[in-house]
């Protein structure tokens, strides 16, 4: 008993007073990308270097800095490394979550208005009262649907004493019937589709859905795997070629995320900030210079 207490004193208190205090991230951490608008000419170095197919040519400016789709991005930094113009850099901002699939598209910061279109998205304004019910208490159930265990591990870690998820009234439950929503990781494998749909059906309404990681949003590196359904993002072209019928099952079951946390895997602070943003808490989700692609605009794949 005394031994335990003595060790307890040595281990100290390690919970970070977040969001009042900011976490100390690695100097090499790659957070939300920032793009500068440059004339690229025929240079396609970033497209060639990207292992995730995350770069898109802007329909309105084909010869300039492309769009970066955080839905697919694995934040490896390869594009930034090869860009001769230094047009792409990864900031240290870990607040990367967005409330829509389109909100994950990052365009070049507008120098003089061009390319700007995204509205500042304060979570309180964006989410409104939709999830007000869950302000004081939010119970979530996690489903790994083909995840590699990295997103799972960095979601699980929120329960440890550094993050202390419980102080926000948030808890992961053992049963979907006790949950207010699901957190899904992984590209959704064909083999896991039925279990995911069943689990979602077992969550009482109103319910919410969180997609964590590039796989869960777009299929990530497994976007083209016939055994995977391309995640929950549901944007055309992101569906695994082998399984359109099964992918439809996901849509029919209403598995459309309310919040998207990109990354491979996202930093735990990104996940925590994302979940809090869902309730309209925390700082703006999407910075005002992010290009939002509306229904009228088309994207040409590079």
């Amino acid at each position: 008993m005394f031994r335990i207490l003595a060790e307890r004193l040595k281990q100290g208190s390690r919970t970070l007073d977040w969001p009042r205090k900011e976490p100390a991230l690695s100097p090499r951490y790659r957070g939300r990308p920032e793009l500068a608008d440059t004339a690229c000419g025929d240079c396609r170095a970033c497209y060639a270097a990207c292992p995730a197919g995350a770069l898109f040519t802007r329909a309105d400016a084909p010869g300039r800095t492309p769009l970066l789709d955080m839905a697919r991005c694995i934040f490896c930094g390869a594009c930034a490394e090869v860009c001769p113009e230094g047009a792409i850099r990864f900031s240290r901002d870990y607040r990367v979550a967005a409330a829509s699939r389109e909100g994950l598209l990052v365009g070049p910061r507008a120098a003089g208005g061009e390319g700007a279109g995204g509205a500042p998205a304060d979570p309180a304004a964006l989410m409104g009262d939709r999830f007000r019910l869950f302000r004081r208490s939010l119970k979530l159930r996690e489903v790994s649907a083909g995840g590699c265990n990295a997103c799972e591990a960095d979601t699980n870690v929120l329960g440890t004493l550094v993050y202390d998820l419980g102080r926000f009234g948030i808890e992961f439950t053992a049963s979907p019937r006790h949950a207010d929503g699901l957190v899904v990781t992984g590209p959704v494998t064909r083999n896991m589709c039925a279990a995911l749909v069943d689990t979602w059906a077992a969550v009482p309404r109103p319910r919410l859905l969180v997609a964590v990681g590039a796989c869960a949003i777009s299929g990530g590196l497994f976007r083209e795997a016939p055994e995977c359904l391309g995640g929950l993002g549901g944007t055309a072209g992101d569906t695994g070629p082998g399984a359109p019928a099964v992918a439809d099952t996901l849509t029919e079951a209403g598995l459309t995320p309310d919040i998207y946390v990109p990354g491979c895997p996202p930093n735990p602070w990104s996940i925590l900030a994302g979940i809090l943003a869902l309730r309209g808490e925390g700082r703006p989700l999407i910075p005002d210079w992010t290009l939002s692609v509306g229904p009228g605009q088309t994207i040409v794949r590079g």
């Binding site: 335990i4 591990a153 590209p187 896991m192 279990a195 795997a225 895997p265």
Partner: protein, 506 residues
């Protein structure tokens, strides 16, 4: 069988083509002589007309030798599963992936098709009959934040007679994606290999890099690269062993260590992030080297944090092992005997806990860097206690090794000439692969030996690229460890093995 040095690629024409019967006999002979099966797979003929033969790679750990043999294309072969249980799962995989029938296999259950797979008709489970026998099914979705798998218990009262584990839910067809990319788009393939099992990102990336380097015959890398890679690998071991000890403590109801280790594990992950920006070590490895270096100041900063984290980890583990209730709960739970471990081909922590000195850092070292211990850390009892104790001891060794690496890196800043050489090596490592070669990479990940086997065809593409995660060998051990135990032992036992679902499902 063609025998060769584990570091060397062999020309495919040196690997003898045997009949299926002869291959089976050779495998049995070798296993009797102390060899074990590393990989056993279908090897498609060059030309892609769908004809597939078999290829088997074995290892003799004490002699640091490998052996390989293959067959001509075939559609069936005599099963060895009864005589040599460690090939049982490989034979099912061969049947599932290439349709080659292992004749006489006791039960050709699916390997990676879950019972819920679309178009599937469910699956038969082994069933024990009797008036007081009952069956308990768990999963695929479990109570914690954990990957999916289905567990089916056959119980008599409280006692588990049999546990059957059905996996496949995480099957992403990783090997099918990896095979063409590893030759044509090697860097993209490396990013994919890092997702084979997220908690073993560094180990799987190391294996794919080493495989390519061996196929190209690049020879040993610079000491700097070796130390950077080893630091990444050992930090991965520290983080996961630490997390596992915490999880075991949690399942014995000992909350202090459970709580502390959750935090300490994160500190180890953050040290990895200092190295390469990613907590799981993604992006650390590059073919022919390491993608990141460390300055003297960064080394000093990391060494200081490592020492503090190491002290916390040691104190936390000591508190746990000093608790008699923890010790009693772990002792005797989920036992695997040495004979059983050898028979089913266990690897990694689970094998060492049962007394088998299997550790690829010793039987297939990637470099000539000194180890922290004279040999693999082994225990004799093969229970949860032994698996926890192996982890505790290995954390001490890993700390010593990372300290040594940081110390060396801090004292040897990279100069321009060396950087030049390193770039040359990295460029050489991206060259087109030589045709008709077979090479093997064995990397001791924290869970156990990760094995990547590559066979190139006439144009330098991969005819076969096999990824064998330690979980592939060890899930059977987990199932057998539960016999005679109770369902309440299952979570604790499961934590002590901590096997990967996606690493098995791939």
């Amino acid at each position: 069988m063609h025998e060769f040095d584990y570091r060397k690629a062999v020309a495919l024409n040196e690997v003898p083509v045997l009949t299926a019967e002869a291959l089976g006999e050779r495998i049995l002979e070798h296993v009797r002589d102390g060899w074990r099966v590393l990989a056993y797979f279908g090897l498609p003929e060059a030309g892609g007309d769908g004809a597939v033969g078999l290829c088997c790679v074995l290892a003799h750990d004490a002699e640091q030798r490998l052996a390989a043999a293959r067959t001509a294309p075939l559609t069936a072969f005599p099963s060895l599963a009864e005589a040599c249980p460690q090939v049982e799962l490989f034979e099912r995989e061969i049947y599932e992936e290439w349709g080659i029938l292992p004749e006489g296999h006791p039960w050709l259950k699916p390997v990676r098709r879950s019972p819920d797979a679309p178009g599937g008709s469910g699956r038969d489970f082994y069933r024990v009959d009797g008036s007081e026998v009952h069956e308990v099914g768990v999963g695929p979705v479990h109570a914690g934040i954990i990957e999916p798998g289905h567990f089916r218990f056959q119980c008599y009262g409280e006692i588990i007679l049999h546990l059957e584990i059905a996996l496949g839910y995480q099957h992403r067809a990783l090997m099918a994606l990896l095979r063409p990319r590893a030759a044509a788009e090697p860097v993209a393939a490396l990013r994919l290999a890092e997702c084979a099992a997220g908690d073993s990102s560094v180990a799987h990336a190391t294996a794919l890099c080493v495989l390519r380097e061996r196929l190209l015959g690049l020879g040993e890398l610079s000491e700097r690269c070796q130390r950077l890679r080893r630091a990444g690998l050992e930090l991965e071991r520290l983080a996961n062993h630490c997390g596992d000890l915490g999880a075991i403590a949690g399942d014995t109801g000992f909350l202090p260590t459970s709580s502390w280790n959750g935090r300490i594990r994160g500190d180890f992950l953050n040290l990895t992030a200092t190295l390469c920006g990613n907590r799981f070590g993604r992006g650390l490895l590059a073919y022919g080297g390491a993608a990141w270096g460390l300055s003297s100041e960064e080394c000093a900063d990391m060494a200081g944090r490592l020492a503090a984290t190491g002290r916390d980890a040691a104190g936390s583990a000591k508190t746990m092992f000093a608790s008699s209730s923890v010790g009693q709960r772990m002792a005797g739970t989920g036992q695997v005997t040495e004979a059983l471990a050898r028979e089913i081909g266990l690897v990694g922590v689970a094998a060492r806990a049962s007394g088998l000195p299997r550790d690829a850092r010793f039987h297939a070292p990637l470099s000539s860097l000194p180890q922290a211990a004279p040999g693999p850390r082994t225990e004799r009892t093969g229970d949860v206690f032994a698996r926890a104790e192996v982890r505790r001891a290995e954390m001490e060794d890993s700390l010593t090794m990372v300290e040594a690496d940081l110390d060396w890196l801090g004292r040897h800043p990279e100069d321009a000439a060396e950087r030049e050489r390193a770039h040359g090596m990295e460029k050489a490592a991206l060259a087109q692969l030589p045709p008709q070669r077979l090479a093997v990479a064995q990397v001791e990940g924290w869970r156990g030996e990760i094995c990547h086997v590559g066979v190139t065809g006439p144009d330098g593409d991969f005819l076969a690229l096999r990824v064998v995660d330690p979980s592939f060998h060890n899930w059977t051990g987990m199932a057998l460890a539960m016999r005679g135990g109770q369902i309440s032992d299952f979570p604790l036992c499961n934590k002590s093995f901590n096997l990967s679902y996606c690493g098995y499902d791939l």
